[in-house]
Symmetry: C2
Subunit: 465 residues, 2 copies
């Protein structure tokens, strides 16, 4: 009779060990297809274990299909040898390991936020309060658009600080704007042509391309999107950042805004996606009012994110759908679960409604103001001062710096990298190469450490020698 040793059990249970022994013998062909296994009682006696143990092992092997049973006859080995051979036919390629990020002394490209500025103790306290006070709500599935409290808090915030009057139902919470773009493609339709700004944030065009959606690039003039080019493009959906264009910093003036709204109003299928990613951080004056707030025709989909204003690693963004799109959203996409955990949604709702978000934004605006001044000061005192021209320095989080140099942009980036400084150039954000876009650095200072600013500028200066 079949015999197995139970001497070397390891962490296995008796039945688990027996299961493995039999399974291996079947896979190796030691137990041939059709072989009848010992009866449970006889097998148990032979192995010195209980009948239940054998029973459990046989049940598991049955469930997985290694054995089959014939009533009143017993247990037999299933025939799996052909399938094993067929399945092993392919030959896999080599393993590729993901590229690791390089470590920079200073990074003027990343959107990551400074850890010293995150309100850890308040966030931790609100999280604790959420966990102890909302145990039931925390485990109740939220509506597809997100939990009510957070959407109400955002609606209040938008009303008070952006002059936008929206209902919580219009607000859809998602794990990052990239995710929400994916939803919008499904909502507005894959047959539409999406127009993006050139230059612009590259990820947006990448997302449309990755989703196989037609995408066209619109040139900008000094007021933003060129409406004639937009009209000529045949696009139905315009993706734009009128309050502060990235990377040029252009603010679309009120007349152009109305022209864009007029374009959208002329056809039923037209919509504008307004990406208001950094409206909180205008350093001079008031925030620029959102396009959404002057839209009478429900043609603007407003988007914003807490990844810029709070932390890039807290993935909470939202969009405000115009009322005319709500029915189709709930009908077509209402089956999707909200992608943000309840724990963070409730914590953020408390953070906003208790006024901490406003305070945080104010504190950050002051901090970024100081960062910018430190940077401008460091540039002024460095050899760079005679070689640069700085623009758009009031808009917050980044400015443009034009260098008087004959070096190519690629060479500039390479030299900076050798100095441990990560920079990007305006020319990299163009889809079609333009005259005059060379030698302009985009200096993003949201993530840079204050005490490294002087040294970072010194290193940049060395690149131009």
């Amino acid at each position: 009779m079949l015999t197995y040793s139970f001497a070397d059990l390891g962490s296995d249970s008796l039945y688990g060990h027996l299961y493995k022994c039999i399974r291996n013998d079947i896979l190796k062909g030691v137990l041939a297809p059709g072989t009848r296994l010992p009866s449970k009682r006889a097998f148990a006696k032979n192995l010195g274990i209980s009948t239940i143990t054998v029973e459990n092992a046989y049940q598991q092997l049955m469930a997985e299909g290694y054995l089959y049973s014939v009533p009143k006859k017993g247990y037999f080995v299933a025939d799996i040898t052909n399938e094993v051979k067929a399945a092993a036919a392919g030959t896999p390629e080599e393993v590729v390991i993901s590229p690791e990020q390089a470590d920079y002394f200073a990074d003027f490209v990343s959107n990551s936020t400074n850890q010293a500025n995150f309100p850890f103790s308040i966030w931790a306290r609100l999280m604790r309060e959420t966990i102890s006070g909302k145990s039931e709500e925390l485990l109740t599935n939220p509506p597809p658009g997100g939990i009510r409290e957070l959407r109400e808090a955002i609606a209040d915030y938008l009303f008070q600080f952006r002059g936008m009057s929206v209902s919580p139902e219009q607000i859809i919470i998602g794990a990052g704007t990239e995710y929400l773009y994916g939803l919008l493609i499904q909502l507005l339709g894959r047959d539409k042509i999406f127009a993006v700004e050139d230059p612009g944030y590259r990820k947006i065009a990448q997302i449309y391309a990755s989703n196989c959606v037609k995408c066209c690039y619109l040139p900008l003039d000094s007021s933003g999107v060129d409406v004639a080019a937009l009209e000529a493009s045949g696009a139905q959906i315009l993706h734009t950042s009128p309050s502060h264009h990235f990377p040029t910093g252009i603010i679309t003036p009120i007349s152009r805004r109305y022209e864009l709204l007029g374009w959208a109003a002329r056809d039923d299928s037209r919509y504008i996606i307004e990406d208001d990613y950094d409206c909180e951080f205008r350093l001079l004056g008031k925030p620029i009012p959102a396009l959404q707030s002057i839209d009478q025709t429900e043609k603007v989909i407003y988007m914003n994110t807490f990844t810029k204003s709070l932390a890039s690693t807290i993935r909470i963004s939202y969009m405000v759908l115009p009322p005319r799109l709500l029915a189709s959203y709930y009908q077509q996409l209402g089956f999707y679960s909200c992608t943000v955990s309840n724990f963070e949604q409730y914590t953020l709702a408390a953070f906003i409604s208790q006024g901490y978000f406003e305070k945080h934004v104010n504190r950050m605006r002051t901090f970024y103001h100081r960062q910018r001044d430190l940077l401008l000061d460091a540039i002024k005192k460095s050899p760079l001062s005679s070689m640069v021209e700085i623009t758009e320095e009031d808009a917050g989080l980044h400015f443009l710096m034009k260098l008087a140099t004959t070096l190519s942009d690629e060479e500039l980036i390479r030299r900076a990298q050798r100095e441990g400084v990560r920079i990007s150039c305006l020319s990299q954000y163009y889809h079609q190469q333009r005259e005059g876009a060379e030698h302009i650095l985009i200096i993003n200072y949201s993530g840079i450490e204050s005490d490294r600013i002087a040294e970072a500028i010194a290193r940049l200066s060395r690149c131009l020698r």
Copy 2:
């Protein structure tokens, strides 16, 4: 000269008030296009405010495009009237409010988990430890696949409890499997045909449909997916749950598994998405080994989620890509940011690596075992006992209950709803209507409260009278 009252400032600053007054007059046409505004000094003197205040208001109005300046001439009102009219042309539809979820006495459909079982105090402590101990890591952007610690913890867990040997690089973290399906469509290609199980989890087909991807439905036999039908379908991608099919509970036996792997190996473009959504909760015996663990040819994409095993409202899922797909993943989709916040990723990593996840799963398995026994017992003692046949009760989280009734499934659901009990029927999960699928309830007991079980069954009995 233009005059405004500063008597009713409210919460506005002086310059903010002035800005609003001028803006409103421009929008109402009181200040006509081309009108020259008073010089800053004269205006300030007239209004009894400082020149700086007027300067700030003018700057803001300039930034937004309401005014323009002519050097040495002064500030003028921009012409925006035509655009305002054009933009107001469309007429919006009516507002639709999102449907609210009904409140049930007992819900046998929802996948939400019971709040009494969530390890709140441990989770809160780990979250606190994460916040105080990892402030820098928390604000550092993670790799696209998720933070290293979590992927290592999952790889360890899969090795110990699922016998799977995978590297952390193969693991991609995402905010829910629904999100990961969207990534897979982009990775595998929109030109592919995706095959899903019929009956099956409806959301999967909805996601493919919403992304405009071709999808075909495969009939099941008692071993799961019919390989001949799969071959005939022309599909390249098979989406399956071989360890525990929803809703039938079928376990695909080892021979069929090898047949499926053989199908995948026969063409380079073929892949299998293995959705292992509830492998942790098999109530009898050991978990069924994953298809991935016997795949020699790198054709299986394994998916699992913590929404089932931990809480439906913590949106963390993952997929394990075969090494042959890693290069294209990082190249094509590496630009997407990870959709789960660092805070929850680090907390979950600690939860798994410190052994709490294993303990939690064991505790939940015992709990579900008890839930199921309470349910079976309540059914036995109720008038239902003579009218039902129960199958697949060992698989965990749900079983099937066939009713001896002539009522239609729609009528059953309606009557149960009137009794405050939410149920679903097997027939609802079929794409093509099948004979013999009627009168079979799917009893999901993951979210039901223990002390309501007896009453819920009593109410269900009443539906059959």
